[in-house]
Amino acid sequence: MKKTLALATGLAAALGLGQAAAQVSDDVVKIGVLNDQSGLYADITGQGSVLAARMAAEDFGGTVLGKKIEIVFGDHQNKPDVGSNIARQWLDVDKVDAIADVPTSSVALAIQEITKTKNRVFLISGAASSDLTGKACSPTGFHWTYDTYMLANGTGGALVKAGGDSWYFLTADYAFGHALERDTGAAVTAAKGKVLGQVRHPLNTSDFSSFLLQAQASKAKIIGLANAGGDTINSIKQAAEFGIVAGGQRLAGLLVFVTDVHSLGLKTAQGLVVTESFYWDLNDETRAWSKNFMAKHGGKAPTMVHAGVYSAVKHYLTAIKEAGTDEAGKVAEKMRQMPVNDFMTKNGQIRQDGRVMRDAYLLQVKKPEESKGPWDYYKVLSTIPAKDAFRPIEQSECPLVKKS
């Protein structure tokens, strides 16, 4: 009897071991960083995100559950069809377990659908549309760094409070611009402000003078720039040229990254109020991580998207370790159970709709004489607690929330 029991136990143990080893599919944990490697969002995401993912894998020790962690990357050129093709190839043929970053909301929405049907984890850092945790949410999709709701309420809310009660939008004509315009419009109206109109420009426009003139003619107190990257830079630069700020109107860069400020120069960018969930110079921890990042990234400071990719990949790997498997459903469950804690996140919680609840910061671009050195660009105006920064779960259109 004893003998059989011992044998059974041994067998069970062996079986268990065998299972644990087999639980990492294909004997490798492969994470695909999919973003813009060559276009207008390449400095915000691009190789910096790949580096951040690699740093996370290195800090994790290079292996999880005894299997190698591998980081691959692809260039979706901001086109949903190109991005979808790469994602399918990765998931079907190349044994990729999770896709990370994916700026450009239109592409991210496509990838969200693909990862949902194929049951893989999607770690969104670069994309902004709040629909990713709204009607397009997924049980295995996580919106890590920021979203249009946060930008709308951070920057939009602050400017309405400061007396900017009439708005005109300059909107990038695709999913992200529309979502940002919608969310900011809602925030403005909620704060008793008025939206006077909007003009939609194609993605990647170089001349904004015509749109700016229309915004100027609207007589709105605030011109909201619902665009990003090179589009925002050119809008701000040309607004200065056409004397829009000098004429008494104020620009609201709704999505401005630290790299954009670097590109514009403080002289042009000074005074802009922006909302970000990370700035390299917030505290000792962020400075330490960023110093390491900058050393490997040609001295360029990390954007919040880069930091978010690191944070997401690290949390994903921890969840695999805790769950003892890389099966997406189980890992996603584990990710939701564990609090997110790293250099940029303090006690972050992941909600049912996939939204990572984290604090955001309302920042203002310094005047040239206030800046002490390269990349010293922001002063912190206030910290927006997570519950105010993101859409309340009761308002979520996510079907996952309604079911429960």
Binding site: S206, D207, G229
Partner: protein
């Protein structure tokens, strides 16, 4: 059509003027392309990259040598033109006897390489370049920045001068003759290969000049050329490949058309030029001012 009535005439004047300013860039770039195609029969796809290099050249002159915009305006086109001459000597010269497609492939490949190198070095968001003529004049119907006014004037002068040299001087006559029958012109003792080389350098220099003019308005970014070059090619095709006057007039006209589209239906502003191109090709395959050869 109700929207048409919704736009006050003042706003319309403003947009027409802006269209003219953007047209100035199209005109200058398509002029360079037309000169090169007309004289060398090469479809110069590196034009966008050379325009971008012009802007970067201005930025580097300022940053590393402290030379301001007005020096750059003269130096950058010379430097970029010299770079063009180097390309011609090393690569393009070997392709004159082959099909157009070879030149197109070579220049396209070169432009990808050049852009890649700049992107790798400077990132994609670009570098700031200060406006040398800040301020502007309120015209009543719009605020006209001094710098934009200068761009239109400069571009018109350059276009007129080029047209004059090629169509009205002895040098231009040699050039045109050399395109028609190089062997015969060489028999008269004119160094045709050198003339072609200098023509290419001049065309490229024009792209560089347009780049310097663009630097204070647009972000100096490695992508600025590829954003523009497709439109400029459409302009050249509409104007008629190789027609100098055609490319200048079409450049300004299409700038205005695009500007108006931005008022009435902004979503279509990036496509309107290609719609026009398709229509023109259907009706006049050689372009508005082109001649079938």
């Amino acid at each position: 059509m109700f929207e048409l009535l919704g736009v006050p005439p003042q706003a319309l004047f403003g947009q027409l003027l802006l269209g003219l300013i953007n047209g100035a860039f199209y005109a200058m770039l398509s002029l360079g392309l037309a000169v090169i195609f007309g004289m060398l029969n090469v479809i110069n796809f590196t034009h966008g990259a050379q325009y971008m290099m012009g802007a970067f050249c201005a930025w580097m002159l300022l940053k590393f040598l402290g030379l301001n915009y007005w020096f750059a305006l003269i130096l950058a086109p010379i430097i970029i033109g010299a770079f063009g001459i180097l390309l011609e000597r090393l690569f393009l010269r070997r392709l004159y006897n082959l099909d157009h497609l070879y030149g197109l492939l070579l220049t396209f490949g070169l432009s990808l390489i050049i852009e890649g190198v700049f992107r790798n070095q400077f990132g994609s968001t670009g570098q700031p370049y200060d406006n040398p003529l800040p301020g502007g004049q309120n015209l009543g119907f719009m605020f006209l920045p001094y710098y934009r006014a200068w761009v239109v004037v400069a571009s018109l002068l350059v276009c007129l001068a080029t047209w004059f040299v090629i169509e009205r001087t002895r040098l231009g006559a040699y050039l045109r003759a050399a395109t028609e029958n190089p062997t015969l012109v060489q028999a008269f003792g004119i160094n045709v290969p050198r003339m072609i080389m200098l023509t290419y350098g001049f065309g490229v220099g024009l792209a560089g000049l347009a780049g310097v003019l663009a630097a204070p308005i647009y972000q100096v970014s490695p992508l600025m050329g590829s954003n523009l070059i497709i439109i400029v090619f459409a302009v050249v095709v509409i104007g008629g490949m190789g027609s100098i006057l055609g490319s200048v007039i079409t450049g300004f006209t299409l700038g205005v058309v695009e500007g108006l589209t931005k008022v009435f239906y902004p979503e279509a502003s990036s496509t309107v030029i290609f719609v026009i191109m398709a229509i023109v090709l259907l009706v006049r395959p050689a372009g508005l001012f082109g001649q079938t050869r």
